[in-house]
């Protein structure tokens, strides 16, 4: 009887092949992680040299000389990204709700396809479009035009992630809201959105991370500026534009350092936005304190 069962040690060849594949996977993983680590390393080492509190609050000086800060670019980035968020979050969420919740047939399909195509448009083309639409009609470059261009880049990302999120609202929750005769918009606002808040926020964070680093759509919309300019109807600088400006003067060590410092600032802003976004999403998905 016992002869029917054999507990053999696994073969040496099989063992070796296993290890080989495992080794290759580890190497591939390292190759993928290495560039990221290198970028972060250089960013911190190089950026830290010029990254002082003064850099964050001073307006720019002459490009070729040391000193001068990125206050105007930080302000521009925050203002334009903020306005772009205010435009793209409601519109993107509404598009997703229209497609998923109101299932309006063919028109919904058209809207959805249009949003998908929009995601594929190169950002410089969006810049050109806004140039024709806003800059030419207003007669001058402005932060407003830059913000609208950024919002068009964010919109498809937000619409698409929100759509996926609303799709995964469990059917049993939908049925519960219907069986309780909740008005649909109430169900959306107080059940569906909180349920998938974390996912919606991921979409927003992704969109912001993408838009905040865009240079091309700003080149001929917000143009750039060398002054601290809070007025969004005027030309405005942004961190990517400021980096571009400084990096063009790479022969001057001060300009080079400012480009690195601006890059570090950009990454820190994205990081902070990530943290705040996640915190907000966690809060939204917890039951509100009753008292």
């Amino acid at each position: 009887m016992s002869a029917e069962f054999h507990l053999r040690p696994s073969g040496a060849m099989r063992h070796a092949r296993d290890r080989l594949i495992l080794g290759l996977c580890v190497i591939a993983g390292l190759v993928a992680v290495l560039p990221l680590a290198a970028v972060l390393f250089f960013l911190v080492v190089e950026g830290a040299k010029a990254w002082t509190p003064a850099f964050l609050v001073t307006p720019p000086g002459p490009l070729t000389l040391p000193g001068g800060g990125a206050a105007h670019a930080i302000l521009g980035t925050l203002e334009m990204t903020g306005l772009a968020l205010l435009i793209s979050v409601p519109v993107g969420t509404a598009v997703a709700l229209y497609v998923v919740e109101y299932r309006a047939g063919k028109l919904a399909l058209v809207v959805r396809t249009a949003v998908d195509l929009m995601a594929g448009i190169p950002s410089i083309v969006i810049g050109l479009f806004i140039y024709a639409l806003l800059v030419l009609t207003m007669g001058h470059f402005s932060g407003l035009a830059g913000a609208v261009a950024l919002s068009l880049i964010m919109l498809p990302i937000i619409a698409r992630t929100s759509e996926e999120m609303f799709k995964i609202v469990p059917r049993r929750l939908r049925e519960a809201t219907m069986a309780l005769a909740m008005p649909r918009w109430r169900a959306i606002a107080s059940v569906y959105v909180p349920t998938v808040a974390a996912g919606l926020m991921t979409g927003i964070v992704l969109a912001v991370s993408r838009a905040v680093g865009e240079t091309a759509p700003l080149l001929f919309t917000s143009l750039g500026s060398n002054f601290i300019q809070p007025d969004i109807t005027q030309p405005m600088s942004a961190l990517p534009l400021y980096m571009f400006q400084n990096a063009l003067n790479i022969g001057f060590p001060a300009a080079r350092q400012r480009a690195w410092a601006a890059a570090l600032t950009l990454v820190v802003i994205v990081l902070l936005f990530n943290i705040v976004g996640r915190w907000l999403a966690t809060r939204a998905s917890l039951p509100a304190a009753r008292n």
């Binding site: 469990p170 049925e175 219907m178 069986a179 309780l180 005769a181 039951p287």
Partner: protein, 292 residues
């Protein structure tokens, strides 16, 4: 506005006032005596796409009584249940023929708002489905607030307490009302869902295998609760579990199906009779466990 919508409103208004008075009095505006039909189903057939799922079902659900629908999987029990509060039409391909009336009013009449039907005919599902991002309190309070049934903090507090008491959950949760509904045990979650359904002041409560996800102790609690609730409400319960139907119902509808025939009613009768003296051979085989 159709007659039904108006009537349903009157219903709700009448009962809102009654909340403060002795419970159970003057509940039914039509003044029907205990045991009259709360719902009547006549010649109901249902399709999913081209597939017939239920054919020619006729029965009544009486007031202040529990009606159980039993039968093997695929016999159309849940389909029939969902036709009673227009939750079936949520399935895109579903359609029905026949009549379903609520206190004599056709719930499928033209112009009838499905929401007004569902306010009067509540539903509890197979899987407990409290809103996970809401507190226990808000799970109960949300729908009545959104439907304009209550306004103001004091009235809402009172409504929430009343609903939770009727669902036999108040004593267990009164100190943790701010906690997430998802933090409760399965049986407690199901009772929370019952409380939530009661809070919109329904007249009929439909239960779709409410205990299939629960342990035996929680199951008994829900059965006892259904029994208590049947003093005020008409209850229709779909169950897989024959013991449950035998223990916890007044009337039983036995449905079945086979290759040639979509879900149909084999036998209807008082539960005690059907389980002790079934008229149909098929019923006897089913309740004795020979098939199903």
């Amino acid at each position: 506005m159709t007659a039904l919508q108006t009537d349903v409103r009157v219903h709700i208004a009448t009962r809102g006032e009654e909340t403060a008075a002795a419970p159970g009095q003057a509940r039914h505006v039509d003044g029907t005596a205990s045991g009259g039909a709360a719902m009547e189903v006549r010649h109901l057939s249902a399709w999913y796409g081209a597939k017939l799922a239920v054919s020619d079902v006729t029965f009544q659900a009486r007031q202040r009584a529990i009606t159980a629908i039993i039968g093997p999987s695929g016999s159309g029990k849940s389909t029939v249940l969902r036709a009673l509060n227009r939750m079936l039409e949520v399935v895109p391909t579903a359609r029905i023929t026949g009549d379903v009336t609520f206190h004599g009013m056709d719930i499928y009449a033209r112009g009838v708002d499905p929401a007004s039907v569902r306010r009067s005919i509540g539903m509890v599902f197979q899987q407990p489905n409290p809103f996970p991002t809401m507190s226990i309190y808000d799970n109960v309070a949300a729908a009545p607030r959104f439907n304009g049934i209550v306004k103001g903090r004091a009235a809402t507090d009172e409504l929430v307490e009343q609903a939770l008491r009727r669902a036999a959950l108040w004593d267990e949760v009164k100190d943790v009302l701010g906690r997430s509904g998802a933090s409760l045990s399965g049986g407690q979650q199901q009772r929370l869902c019952i409380a939530r359904a009661l809070a919109v002041n329904p007249d009929v409560i439909l239960m779709d295998e409410p205990c299939s996800a629960l342990d035996p102790i929680a199951t008994l609690q829900i059965e006892e609760l259904a029994r208590e609730l049947s003093e005020r409400y008409a209850i229709v319960i779909v169950t897989h579990n024959m013991q449950q139907a035998a223990r916890a119902s007044d009337h039983t509808i036995f449905m079945s199906m086979n290759e040639e025939r979509a879900g149909y009613v084999v036998e209807i009768g008082p539960t005690s009779e059907m389980f002790t003296n079934p008229r149909n051979k098929l019923t006897e085989d089913y309740i004795t466990g020979r098939f199903g």
